[in-house]
């Protein structure tokens, strides 16, 4: 981990970075922001860790806990809402047995997240599966994607 953090620190110095850009880099590298990484940077930069946590909890993009390996992001923008994104999300959470308030499956294979709008409203409802954008999503197609991903894990 230290190697990666050192690299991010170098970038920070070179590009006049700030707390936000540092945490964006950390999250890119680890998938989330580990507490240790914040403490490490806090010491190196002499910025109180509370400022990092303050920023991390303010922005929707930052995650302080590890996330599932496959990330499914459902768009909840207005166009997706009127085209039934709620039904997609509820169906998905049921399929993955996610209890209320939990975004990751127990085996950490899947994370179900919501995003305010990805700006692909003309092909609503939109679901992003591992960074690939799917438009005009239906419950059946979404379940098929999930099954394929589950199948991949069993093969691997």
């Amino acid at each position: 981990m230290e190697e990666t953090l050192k690299r991010i620190l170098e970038e920070y110095k070179k590009n006049e970075g700030n707390v936000i850009s540092v945490m964006q880099e950390i999250q890119d590298a680890f998938g989330y922001i580990p507490e240790d990484a914040i403490n490490w940077f806090s010491k190196k930069l002499d910025i109180p860790a509370s400022r990092f946590f303050g920023v991390a909890t303010f922005y929707a993009q930052f995650h302080l806990k590890p996330r599932g390996r496959n990330i499914i992001t459902a768009c909840c923008g207005t166009a997706c809402h009127v085209k039934g994104s709620d039904r997609l999300i509820n169906g998905l959470r049921k399929e993955l047995n996610l209890p209320e308030g939990e975004d990751n499956t127990e085996d950490m294979e899947f994370a179900v997240e919501k995003v305010a709008c990805v700006g692909a409203c003309s092909i609503a409802p939109v679901v992003i599966v591992n960074k690939k954008v799917y438009g005009k999503m239906t419950a059946e197609n979404l379940m098929r994607e999930i099954k394929t991903l589950k199948g991949k894990r069993n093969e691997g």
């Binding site: 970075g17 700030n18 707390v19 936000i20 850009s21 945490m23 964006q24 303050g54 920023v55 303010f58 922005y59 929707a60 993009q61 930052f62 909840c76 923008g77 207005t78 166009a79 809402h81 009127v82 085209k83 039904r87 169906g91 995003v115 305010a116 709008c117 990805v118 700006g119 692909a120 409203c121 003309s122 092909i123 609503a124 939109v126 960074k131 954008v133 799917y134 438009g135 419950a139």
Partner: protein, 592 residues
């Protein structure tokens, strides 16, 4: 055969999601193999272009042979070999696959300024932009105009900010020019946070150089040497294209030191937003660029006096900046010939929701809502009844069907309690519940409220709670009056635009759809049959096949019945989750 063949494939986010990359790959393969003569290959060029507007019909492909353009719609990779064989080799376009009346009607009433090159040029190639007159405006301004003259042109054009507030751009630049400081900044606000809006994403994806040019000209006008583009991380394709465009602009000496030998220095950096709606507000955006929590502060001082790191800063929206090079090239008179007296030019809208032709449109200010929805949009999906259109996102309001002949410009929309806003236009039909729509926006603003000031932090939460109880059937007699009073207080006392406009969706739905609120509160009914708690589910005997799917899915054990015989729902046990309704393949579960 020495024909000049161009193939253009839509690669906006809509095009990519519909399989645009696969279509391009298929064209590459088929052109290479398929036994096409070398002469064709040499004269045949394949371009990816930005958003063409009609995303509903993606992937859209243009095949241009010696200037004759044929546009295909809904193209899938397996259709490519047919196009290559019949059209490109044999010269017979496949008429069945070409765009129909819908596509032509979609474009007929549009006037394209900002989008004029969007969807036509390769956004990843600066020479494509230069070939259509790109960077001429930069040259003209930097070599033959003073900053004051430039500002005068923009003032005369009547251009107003396209981000929502509609502040005159020329005036903003003049204030930036007059601000006394060694260091000034120009910021492009590409933090398009309104759910239901994607104009700025499409412009950056389809023609990033126009935005860069607008920033160069703006920087020159106010004497800034540094610029930032604050763009959402949720728009990966736009970020990538912008990054590439900035590199190309630097290589071509449009950015950097001593631009075009004029002694003017200017460069642009990208700052990625981290997912906070409130950062669209100017002072919050500045805090976010500085690396802090994006919380707004009281104004004045305005950013143009004290902005980024305490220095004078001009912030313009993407679409505003993309208008600039066209105004400089074609003149203020040309631009102000479009639009109405107080709202000049054109406006880009994201037309979505229950309309047939969803997509990106650009229309002259002052066009009627009817023309947008019926002529351009092609009417309502499934020919259901049109109920309302929501404009301006969470800060805007709903315009009801009876006002469909209203003109779309800054003043007219404000008069009926909505706003032009950034340009989201979500069409709603008879199956949409207006109380639910108001609740949807309040859920959004409540969770996006930064929490700094009490009226917004607590007020939006209380508004949401009242809406939640109305939609769950626990509404109280005087809830509408309470909503109105609370809304007016929040509007009057919130610190920034988020709180000041957050109650708008509630107020405008009460104004035009009070009867729906009444039905929820007094009759405990949802007329559009959306609010689950107000519905009663029952099984329609004649449609029920007795398959048992509903019985298995019911979490409350409320459904009974023998196999192959009509089932029944016990209303006392039913928790109204709607699972049976969704699972039934025979439309045998009714709600009402």
């Amino acid at each position: 055969m020495k024909a000049d063949i161009k193939i253009k494939v839509c690669m906006g986010t809509g095009g990519v999601a519909a399989g645009g990359a696969d279509v391009i790959r298929a064209f590459k393969n088929k052109l290479k193999t398929a036994g096409i003569k070398a002469s064709v290959e040499r004269h045949c060029s394949l371009h990816k272009v930005g958003c063409r507007g009609l995303c509903a019909k993606d992937v859209l492909v243009d095949v241009i042979i010696d200037g004759n353009k044929t546009t295909y719609q809904d193209i899938k990779p397996d259709m490519v070999s047919g196009i290559v064989k019949e059209h490109i080799i044999e010269g017979n376009p496949i008429i069945d696959w070409t765009v129909g009346d819908e596509y032509h009607n979609f474009h007929r009433k549009q006037i394209k300024v900002v989008l004029s090159d969007c969807g036509d040029i390769d956004p990843e190639d600066i020479s494509a932009y230069i070939a259509v007159g790109g960077y001429e405006a930069t040259k003209k301004v930097l070599t033959s105009m003073t900053p004051e003259e430039t500002i005068e042109v923009i003032k005369k054009s009547g251009l107003r900010g396209r981000g929502g507030a509609g502040f005159p751009t020329g005036l903003k630049w003049e204030l930036g020019r007059k601000a006394q400081s060694e260091q000034k900044y120009i910021i492009c606000n590409a933090d398009e946070g309104d759910p239901g809006a994607f104009m700025d994403r499409s412009v950056v994806e389809g023609n990033p150089h126009a935005v860069i040019e607008g920033m160069i000209i703006g920087a020159y006008s106010i004497s800034a040497d540094r610029g930032y583009v604050y763009i959402r991380a949720e728009y990966p394709l736009a970020v990538e294209r912008l990054r590439r465009a900035l590199d190309q602009a630097r290589k071509n000496k449009f950015l950097g030191k001593n631009i075009l030998g004029t002694g003017f220095d200017f460069d642009i950096k990208i700052k990625l937003g981290a997912g906070a709606f409130v950062c669209g507000e100017e002072t919050a955006l500045i805090a976010s660029i500085e690396g802090q929590r994006g919380m707004p502060r009281a104004k004045p001082p305005y950013p143009v006096q004290k902005g980024l790191w305490g220095n004078p800063t001009v912030i313009n929206n993407v679409e505003t900046l993309a208008n600039i090079p066209y105004i400089i090239r074609k003149g203020a008179e040309w631009f102000s010939s479009f639009g109405t007296e107080k709202s000049k030019g054109t406006k880009v809208f994201a037309l979505t929701g229950k309309v047939k032709n969803t997509g990106l449109i650009e229309v002259p200010m002052g066009i009627s809502l009817r023309e947008i929805i019926y002529d351009i949009g092609g009417g309502i999906e499934g020919d259901r009844a049109f109920k309302a259109v929501q404009t301006g996102g969470p800060s805007g309001g709903c315009i009801p069907a009876e006002l469909i002949d209203i003109k779309v410009d800054f003043e007219s929309l404000a008069q009926v309690g909505s706003i032009v806003g950034s340009g989201g236009m979500v069409v709603l039909d008879e199956t949409d519940c207006m109380v639910n729509i108001a609740k949807f926006f309040l859920e959004f603003t409540q969770s996006e409220s930064c929490g700094k000031c009490t009226p917004c932090r607590v007020g939006t939460k209380r508004l949401l709670e009242i809406l939640e109880r109305i939609t769950s059937g626990d509404g109280k007699e005087d809830d509408i009056e309470l909503l109105e009073a609370l809304s007016n207080d929040i509007k009057a006392t919130s610190l920034c635009g988020l709180g000041q406009t957050a109650p708008n969706p509630v107020l405008s739905t009460i104004k035009y759809f009070r009867h729906e609120y009444d039905a929820h509160i007094k009759d405990k009914k949802c007329p559009a049959k959306v609010c689950k708690h107000l519905l009663a589910y029952s099984i329609i005997d004649e449609f029920c096949k007795g398959c048992g799917a509903c019985k298995r899915v019911c979490p409350a054990g409320a459904i009974t019945g023998e196999k192959k015989k009509a089932h029944t729902i016990d209303p006392d046990l039913c928790i109204k989750c709607g699972a049976c309704f969704e699972i039934c393949k025979f439309n045998a579960v009714g709600k009402g």
